[in-house]
Symmetry: C2
Subunit: 301 residues, 2 copies
């Protein structure tokens, strides 16, 4: 399964959510008529267009499976994606990964400058919690507070940012498979987990079913990262829209370096099947989650 999926359920789902998230960012980020204009233009450059929007798709799909409003879920998905986008902007900075290309276009600090890139990331970070705490998400303040809590925990030092620091340490220290797994559960897994959790909050999913969805999220999170390592190892830079082969150059421990590419691919596929297994109590309404689990390990970008 490549990326020309227009005719299947997942392809249509991705195209629709991509349009919706672009429209949501466009609506909440009007360019002001003052000296803040470059900041908001930078936020728009990074946030609108590009990006698979896998996290919002997960969030919206779970919310809708349980009768949550799509409008509210898209808004929450936009907040979640704002965190993902800010993390990419900061990760690409010269003092971090020093990347020049992202989603097939120059990175933000290349087009604007580093200071604007830092502040555009910070502003998207704040925007995320502004969106989640606004009454337009839900008239129920409990839901708003729970959404904020889930995303804040997943993105901070006990989640994504903590995983990023572990990832930097992986350049210097020799990590084993256990530590690389833990690292990736934080760096990538936490936000994918938040996507499912936030969808479950909006859909008021009962606790037992929430447990199955959490397990699904954990397995696709790990599968996603193994697939990312495989892409870095053997992918096509043009399709990926960013520089590859960086892990190997840096001599960094990854799933591929620790398991070898074949075993890694096997493991990713096994995790994908295991993820689908957690959805056994769900019917057709979970088909998109099943397709997504398969897509995640077979994607070429």
């Amino acid at each position: 399964m490549g990326l020309t999926l227009a005719d299947d359920l997942l392809g249509r789902g991705l195209q629709r959510i991509q349009r919706e998230i672009d429209a949501a960012f466009d609506a909440v980020l009007p360019v002001p008529d003052d000296a803040r204009a470059p900041l908001v233009e930078a936020m728009r450059y990074a946030a609108i267009g590009g990006g698979k929007r896998v996290r919002p798709l997960l969030l919206v799909t779970v919310a809708e499976m349980y009768g949550g409003s799509r409008t509210a879920a898209v808004r929450a998905g936009c907040a979640l994606e704002a965190i993902h986008v800010y993390s990419l902007i900061h990760d690409d900075l010269p003092c971090m990964d020093d990347d020049d290309m992202r989603h097939g276009k120059p990175t933000l600090h290349k087009v604007f400058d580093e200071a604007i890139a830092v502040l555009a990331g910070d502003s998207l970070h704040a925007l995320s919690f502004e969106l989640l705490s606004s009454r337009e998400i839900s008239p129920d303040p409990f839901i708003r507070a729970e959404l904020v809590s889930a995303l804040a925990i997943a993105s901070g030092h006990n989640g994504m940012a903590g995983g990023q620091v572990m990832d930097m340490a992986a350049d210097e220290e020799e990590f084993d498979l256990h530590t690389v797994t833990r690292l990736q559960q934080l760096k990538t897994g936490a936000l994918l987990g938040a996507a499912v959790e936030m969808g479950a909050i909006l859909g008021k999913v009962p606790e037992e079913a929430r447990g199955h969805l959490r397990n699904y999220a954990r397995d696709i999170g790990l599968a996603f990262q193994i697939a990312d390592d495989l892409l870095d190892y053997e992918g096509d830079e043009e399709k990926a829209g960013k520089a590859l082969r960086k892990d190997e150059e840096q001599g960094k421990a990854t799933f591929v370096s620790l398991m070898g590419p074949e075993k890694a691919r096997e493991q990713a596929r096994a995790l994908s099947e295991q993820a689908i297994g957690h959805l056994v109590q769900h019917g057709k309404e979970a088909d998109l989650l099943r397709e997504l689990a398969r897509f995640i390990v077979e994607r070429d970008r």
Copy 2:
């Protein structure tokens, strides 16, 4: 009024809140026993010790004036201070103000490195919203969601971060007094305003009184920034604990450059008296706010 205030109301208030905020950061930031340790140590280095804690003091004072719990207010004050601290970390980065000293000690990126400084700022940013959305702040989710909303709006592109970008533009463009005022209302005023707003949310302050408190916050915010410009112009670097005379070197429009130091000092004092005027309906319980309004324009760091 200098900073040896131990015997008066404000001096005791500052000492107490400084202890409380340090203790709150210490409690929520245990150093983990894994590769994230440097991240959390960096967060602690920047967040604990140093800083006047004016924003938490404002928040806690307003909340207590209306019967809000001090424990909850200190926690919210810690969340607010986390945003302030993250903004200082990012402002000090080489690609921003490139400052070496802060609160009399080397800046975070000097002690750790730039990547850790970016991520420690990001993690304090997320921590802030984690704290505000947690049930320990209030059993009422409406209060939690309102606190998040107030702080997110005040810190993003329509608040503090937007003001920071305008401030960067002030290095290049010739701003007039109107634009400098707007800039400072965002850069410094928004977070001081959030302090009062968050205290009012916790104290469930009625709308009319909230209006008076907002006016108080607006006036002390501007007075605070004029005093900051005066400090930069004529202050003592050792007492300030950071490099001064940067505005003049950069030829940047400030209240002092636009009004002259004498007129600026007059204006700051007038704003301080005007701020105190907004508290006319309050009794002795607002004395600390009155002392704070006077202190803000007379401080020497």
